[in-house]
Symmetry: C2
Subunit: 146 residues, 2 copies
DNA sequence: ACAACCAGTTTTATTTTGCAATCAGTTAAA
DNA sequence: TTTAACTGATTGCAAAATAAAACTGGTTGT
């Protein structure tokens, strides 16, 4: 079996778009890590550990590894500090932003979202696709090496 | 503690919109059930069991129960067939449709989606919000009792 | 009466998660 | 130059969630 075929032949149970998406971020933590990168500006292991929801370090390590394997984030090392790692988004990762926004829209309507968050989200939603695309452009400038 | 306060005081780890959304559908199966109702038109326990991804009946039962508790679906009994149960979407459930569409948009771009599915999804995405809202209206006619 | 059908439940084994402690290497201060 | 603090993790263990298969009690059609 050739590599190219192998990619499309991966033993997925189905090739439904929902199923394929949930294989990547269908769990309690993955999108929270993406949120921490996109919204909170976090880039390092220790920063992710300090989120409100208190992810365990072994779970965090495994999720970061899966996200890297999936090509949603990439790791690079701080040249000044040899052991420091910086996590960045790829284009594929930045493209998850609209999903976060739809989640937020739904939560805003049906869940007890913190007032401060609600205001921020509403401002983006009011800006429509234009606003979302401009935020994604900002993320590109921050995360993609030219 | 009064009921109304109790709702807003639920012991969530945070009141971040992403976290609150993932508490409801942050797992491998929940959104696939919603997909089966919205896209495949499934309404009954046996139908959900027959999806391509082969959900186990105990998991299905637990997810349907959680979705009902969350007010995303409701159960009703077929008056003709006493033991038959019909699952329907609430407005809160129908409002998950845009999330499915954003998931699909992402998968379409980055994952090996089945061609037939890809064509259907693309047709909806080409229609923009107008198309999405009209599909949600169709779902309302089918699921919400007047 | 009997077989097929319905929505689940039970049982058991396996996998994943959560938590705390710990690790090896690197840097900064004394 | 020891020493302490910080870095991104890893390890061991218990608890919880999931998966697979068999099974249940009731209903319906023949």
């Amino acid at each position: 079996m050739q590599p190219v075929e192998a990619y499309f032949m991966e033993n997925y149970k189905s090739h439904c778009p929902q199923y394929l998406a949930l294989q990547v971020f269908g769990d309690k933590w993955t999108l929270l890590i993406i949120r921490d990168i996109m919204i909170e500006g976090k880039r390092r292991f220790r920063e992710f550990l300090q989120s409100k929801e208190k992810i365990a370090s072994n779970i965090l390590a495994s999720r970061l590894q899966l996200l890297e394997q999936d090509g949603i984030i990439y790791r690079s090392k701080d040249p000044q500090h040899k052991q420091k790692v910086i996590y960045s988004l790829t284009e594929k990762g930045i493209d998850l932003f609209p999903i976060l926004m739809e989640n937020a829209r739904w939560s805003l309507k049906y869940k007890p979202v913190e007032k401060e968050d609600a205001i921020k989200v509403q401002a983006i939603l009011d800006g429509g696709w234009e606003k979302i695309l401009s935020i994604m452009d900002d993320l590109r400038k921050l995360h993609l090496k030219q």
